[in-house]
């Protein structure tokens, strides 16, 4: 591991320590610093060099959109559950994707699961198997708006 | 004095009992695990509400954070376990 990542990791962990302990005297700060340095030094996992770095700025823009989607589909599922007739129509959907990078596919799968009404069951780099609860959420899935958003975030070749 | 927070606490207790029903009834192992996952999420919420009730939120939040992190590790371990071991339905 290069010294730069070591230092960055240490600073990140030290920041987390300060947030969690909330004490700013020399004793706690020094313990936190040594702990952070030790953990950063122990964790010498090789970085996944083939993955592009996360585009953090555009990811921050993506999150409010995701939150709005979650709210919408939650209200939909709430209606279904409270309906005395229970109008569900569960099915498994095969969902081929060509987002390219693994990080993007993981983000897509996680977003789909986070949205109530759809759950990712199987993931590979080119295909997802998704369980959809009712017609509306599977239609939402077919429209592929989420994949387009993620493709925009990653600027990859997400042809839809 | 009974405040609204006592009412919240009572509601979450009832919800946990509802999930316990799912855990007892099954019918598959996965239903039970799902129910327990729900219970642990409720338990984290319960901790924060209990913290507000006792006016010692900062202490309870620490416990909740530790529990959340380890709960996640436990959930993943259960998933891995079930995948490696073919299970009979019960």
């Amino acid at each position: 591991m290069s010294p730069r990542t070591l230092i960055l990791k240490t600073i990140g962990l030290f920041g987390l320590w300060i947030l969690l302990s909330g004490k700013l005297d020399a004793f706690h700060l020094s313990i936190g610093f040594f702990g952070a340095a030790l953990i950063a030094w122990i964790n010498t996992e090789p970085q996944h060099l083939d993955e592009p770095p996360l585009p953090l700025a555009r990811l921050v823009l993506y999150l409010p959109w995701l939150f709005w989607e979650v709210v919408k589909s939650s209200l939909n599922i709430t209606k279904i559950i409270l309906d005395p007739k229970l109008p569900i129509n569960p099915r498994l959907v095969q969902y081929p994707t060509n987002l390219g990078s693994n990080t993007a596919v993981v983000l897509l799968g996680n977003s789909i699961t986070l949205t109530p009404g759809t759950v990712t069951i199987e993931v590979s780099s080119s295909k997802l198997v998704i369980h959809a609860l009712d017609d509306e959420s599977s239609n939402e899935l077919e429209s592929r708006s989420m994949e387009q958003k993620i493709a925009e975030v990653f600027h990859s070749r997400g042809q839809t | 004095m009974i405040t609204l927070y006592h009412f919240f606490f009572l509601t979450i207790t009832i919800l946990i009992l509802v999930y316990m029903y799912r855990v007892f009834r099954g019918p598959t192992v996965y239903d039970r695990i799902l129910g327990l996952n729900g219970i642990s999420t409720k338990a984290i919420i319960m901790l924060t509400i209990l913290g507000s009730l006792y006016e010692r939120l900062e202490m309870f939040v620490d416990i909740a954070l530790g529990y959340a992190v380890l709960n996640i590790i436990g959930g993943l371990a259960v998933g891995k376990y079930l995948e490696q071991k073919r299970t009979r339905e019960c």
């Binding site: 939650s74 599922i77 369980h131 | 509802v18 999420t41 900062e58 939040v61 959340a68 996640i72 995948e83």
Partner: protein
């Protein structure tokens, strides 16, 4: 006295209750996990932000935010792991009978 925090917690508790009803009513593991999804996302969000508003802005709020982040990030992973194990071990999803 209905303040911001109690209002938010009431909304959250509503979603939590709906999720519990769903876990009882829905027919199989896969659809029950959808009901649990409501809890994991919206219910947690509303209750925890409500509790965070309770004492004003303190360090505890940062930790509540971290808990929320952890739950939002990793609950999908857990439910995905459970359901994948269920599917691979031969649990078939419940399908509506054709009339």
């Amino acid at each position: 006295m209905l303040t911001v925090d109690t209002l938010l917690i009431f909304i959250g508790l509503f979603f939590l209750t709906v999720a519990a009803i769903g876990v009882i009513r829905l027919p199989d593991v896969f659809s029950r996990s959808h009901a649990l999804g409501i809890t994991d996302t919206l219910g947690n969000f509303f209750v925890l932000t409500g509790v965070a508003f309770y004492q004003g802005l303190t360090l505890a709020d940062v930790k509540i935010f971290l808990i929320l982040l952890a739950l939002w990030h990793l609950n999908p992973v857990i439910s995905h792991a459970t359901l994948r194990a269920a599917l691979r071990n031969g649990v078939r999803p419940w399908i509506k009978e054709k009339k």
